[in-house]
Symmetry: C2
Subunit: 561 residues, 2 copies
């Protein structure tokens, strides 16, 4: 029997997540297709998400990072992989590409029926004097990690500067600390992990500093200088000066679009390749997948460049489907992301508050800080969870979570709910795993849903900490006096929940908005209900004093008290 | 201002999860209501899920288990709690209950506008001779745990028999082992954790035995005898005889319905109180919540008695809402459950295969065994995941998972998808957290969705291990020869994936069904695609040789080879 499926010739440029997935999927749909995968590097299908852990030997060898070799592609999938082969240009009219063999220097043309661009993203390199100095590295490929490892070994590196507090920057910081290297982390924003809102990060900043890292926020590198001893000096715009033996750049990536430009295909406003929901570019014979593309955010409808492995893999499969005549479409991205560092986890899905504000989208939010499992079993770790939703219908818009345990689970639950158009009412009713080690009869996700639903229903409208939220209101702290004494919001009156009912008539002014808070929001909720049922116009500060502290540390409140 | 809300008198019988939630919620809706909570025990609102961990001192004191005292109910919620007060009977016509103060012996009547029955469930006590012997305990209340602790201390207990391999039985087994007590675990079924299907359990059975527990499955206790030295002898129907110093009964619970019967309200076929979706019983003034009730399973539509804390709490709130004139309804249960033991986790949601078979519901299934995170980072632990779905539209029907890490997360993700009517196609596209420590670019949930979707689309139809699934077929093992040598299914032919294409024409018979398997299903999938595209009628064994081993160990296959 002859092998079946569409007889077509598919060239794929770039052999990591999206490109490799596309190649393998194409073969699974057609045995008759000719499939060639080009990569200018020496490896395909490697796990670049593991590179920071390779630098520190947490991952013991390069082989572990290589998910499939060219031989395996040949043996398992009958796919021809040409490594160290750079595709130089595309002739979209005549449908061929120009390829250079980087080993021999030979150049040749290769024709295609369908071309898939999966060139990925490249580290951003801002025009900083000295950026090309020896000892300054980005980390995107296996050779990058090898150069870094060699430099560390040869120079007996004990001090490092990491520029950028995103995923790579944080993971490199952690791995350096793990290696006993002293780190200065410089980030241009006033927070690490830009996908989250500022008030979610103070505890992460504290943890980073507790582990001995010098954290330099809201400052950018202005100059790098090499010393005679091969050491490096980094100067910042803020006038700081740091010495180190190595500098890692982790300030983000840009989509690689040179080839797309040579093919004359359309780019989007964010500079990535514009693709439709079939992953097809403006040229009908050219597809594109992965980090080089702009993809539609399902919450905001905006196009964004979002370098994430999961969506890249999905796009690879969808491009292959459509090339082979199957109809399948990409539902867009919801920006689920996660980073683990120093025994903490930072994760998010959907839109953040900054984005919703920028787009002037309707939203409300809840803050809560439950334990990752029931408090009665030893070892419960608090998490800070923020959920954003549409206050009209409760539709979930996004969530952020920071903590030591169970963070990924809660974001994945909410991610799944968002995917299905879920609401805070769905979270309220979610039936999640409960045994003492794993959660609570009211899981943090249930609690988030309840708090939001109580607000939407008008039972316990929420207040939020911001510069003027508690002016002209009666600010009521319902914690016990001892808690109040240990710290409170300036101007707050302390009437504990336990004596609220008796004090209500004499100590709480009628006809004035009452803003209630407690430690994390629960007693404030009970107090708010009692007050509202007694005719007071009360609202409850979401997240209570803990949220206040987080907002204040993030610099989002007046530096009062 | 006078306190607002509905002026009604609510009596609640039973003060644990459902009853306590109902009381607190009722107060939050009405400050004007009179709310009295009765419990015949000495405690309300205690965490009975924590009791096994209290026995072993993992939870250090009783106080930790008490979530709210009568004083706190009074102070925070203005709710009157009457402990040690047994409600003896209900006069539903005249709307009052008869109460006995168990301390004084006094009896009195208390009238109500609305009555909520939350009496919970009681341990099953089958008619076994000697069941009342000193040293035989159930574990449902704080006093139960105190009796057990005292007995252990006084008798210097070193040997125990646990009867029943459900949640309580397994948790008690683990806690006994933690205390250095040697355990025999006797279970009537051929598996522990009845909510899961049999093939999911062999690795759990092995783990239990590895930790030194004598596991006696498929046998039941016929007789218990006390020895002169206060030791106990347990005899089984299978003719076994075990000595021990303590016996714990964990063979399940029955809904407590004596009071419901005295009120003349309707019970369901399973013996629980029948309630509607407002948690109202057949008497318009009587509501019921929690373990005493039958609730509707949202997958099967069947009514079931399911003692779970989460649904009990939800019902408590819903009953309170409706009593207070709010319309809210209970969506039913989906039977999400979890148990941790010996560093393993066993969890499930939705319907299992046994139930789907019994109800003759249409379903298909996938088995897979991915790591809890990427394999390239050290420490990945395999999990066995089973997902059940409707093969016509892909609708998710249930999931089961067993492993060491990340099990609760996957079940919660699928639980959330089920709640929203999700399909295997949704799982395929789910955008979940991925960094090396937390999952994979293709999370186990994504993989489950892909395998099922590939089967539904006809790309790679699945085969399943059962007694006759591989008769009259060409059974093809596509693993490498060395793997084949270490163990394979009797009658299988070994042609590894790497040489499949060259061997296809000469070694594989045309016109005969080809059943393919590999280690866990992935290479089998690639082989199945290649075969089908070349005209063969191939199917892939879901879960591969690992699933075969699990089925065989569970006794579901002929004891071949």
């Amino acid at each position: 029997m002859a092998p079946g499926g569409v007889k077509t010739k598919v060239l794929i440029v770039g052999g990591v997540a999206g490109g490799a997935s596309c190649a393998a999927r194409a073969r699974r749909i057609s045995e008759a297709a000719e499939i060639i995968l080009f990569d200018k590097g020496g490896f395909v299908s490697f796990a670049n998400c593991g590179l920071p852990y390779r630098v520190s030997d947490v991952i013991a060898d390069d082989k572990s990072l290589i998910l499939a070799s060219p031989e395996l592609f040949k043996n398992r999938f009958n796919i021809e992989v040409r490594i160290q082969s750079e595709v130089l240009s595309v002739d979209a009219t005549r449908k061929f590409v120009r390829v250079r063999n980087l080993v021999t220097g030979n150049e040749y043309d290769e024709s295609y029926d369908a071309l898939v661009l999966a060139p990925g993203a490249a580290p951003l390199r801002p025009p900083i004097p000295g950026l090309d100095s020896p000892g300054v590295f980005a980390l995107r490929t296996i050779p990058d990690s090898q150069y870094i490892r060699s430099w560390i070994a040869e120079h007996n590196v004990k001090t490092a500067i990491v520029v950028g507090g995103g995923f790579i920057g944080l993971e490199m910081t952690e791995n350096f600390v793990h290696m006993g290297i002293k780190v200065v982390l410089i980030e241009g924003l006033k927070q690490v992990m830009a996908p989250l809102d500022a008030e979610m990060l103070p505890r992460v900043h504290e943890r980073i500093q507790e582990r001995g890292v010098e954290l330099c926020l809201g400052d950018i590198v202005s100059r790098i200088e090499q010393q005679p001893d091969e050491g490096l000096v980094v100067e910042t715009k803020g006038g700081k000066r740091f010495d180190a033996q190595i500098v890692i750049l982790g300030i983000g990536v840009r989509p690689v679009t040179e080839l797309a430009k040579s093919a004359g295909i359309e780019l989007g406003a964010r500079g990535g390749i514009r693709i439709d929901d079939r992953c097809r570019t403006s040229d009908p014979n050219i597809w594109a997948v992965g980090d080089a593309c702009e993809t539609k955010d399902i919450i905001t409808g905006e196009f964004a460049v979002l370098p994430l492995a999961g969506p890249a893999n999905r796009q690879g499969r969808i491009a292959a489907d459509n090339i082979m005549g199957r109809s399948s479409s990409f539902r867009g991205v919801q920006a689920t992301a996660i980073c683990g560092l120093f025994d903490m986890t930072v994760a998010c899905t959907g839109a953040n508050e900054k984005t919703l504000q920028r787009l002037n989208m309707r939203y409300d939010k809840v803050h809560l800080s439950p334990g990752h499992h029931v408090g009665y079993l030893p070892g419960a770790k608090p998490m800070d969870l923020k959920v954003l939703y549409d206050p009209h219908d409760g539709k979930l818009l996004g969530a952020q979570c920071v903590g030591e345990e169970g963070v990924d689970k809660r974001i994945d639950i909410i991610s799944t709910a968002i995917q299905k158009g879920g609401t805070v009412f769905d979270l309220e009713e979610a039936e999640l795993c409960y045994a003492p080690q794993f959660g609570a009869a009211k899981d943090p996700c249930n609690m988030a849903g309840m708090i939001a639903a109580n607000s939407i229903r008008g039972d316990a409208p929420l207040a939020h900490w911001n510069l003027d939220s508690y002016m002209n209101s009666f600010l009521l702290d319902v914690r016990e006096p001892a808690e109040f004494e240990r710290g409170h919001v300036e101007g707050a009156i302390n009437i504990s929940l336990t004596r609220l009912r008796e004090a209500m008539e004499s100590e709480i002014p009628a006809g004035q908005p009452i803003l209630v808070y407690c430690a994390v929001g629960q007693r404030g909720y009970y107090a708010t209900r009692a007050l509202r049922l007694s005719g007071f116009n009360a609202r409850n500060f979401s997240g209570g004093f803990r949220a206040y502290t987080n907002y204040k540390k993030a610099g989002l409140l007046a530096p009062a008290q």
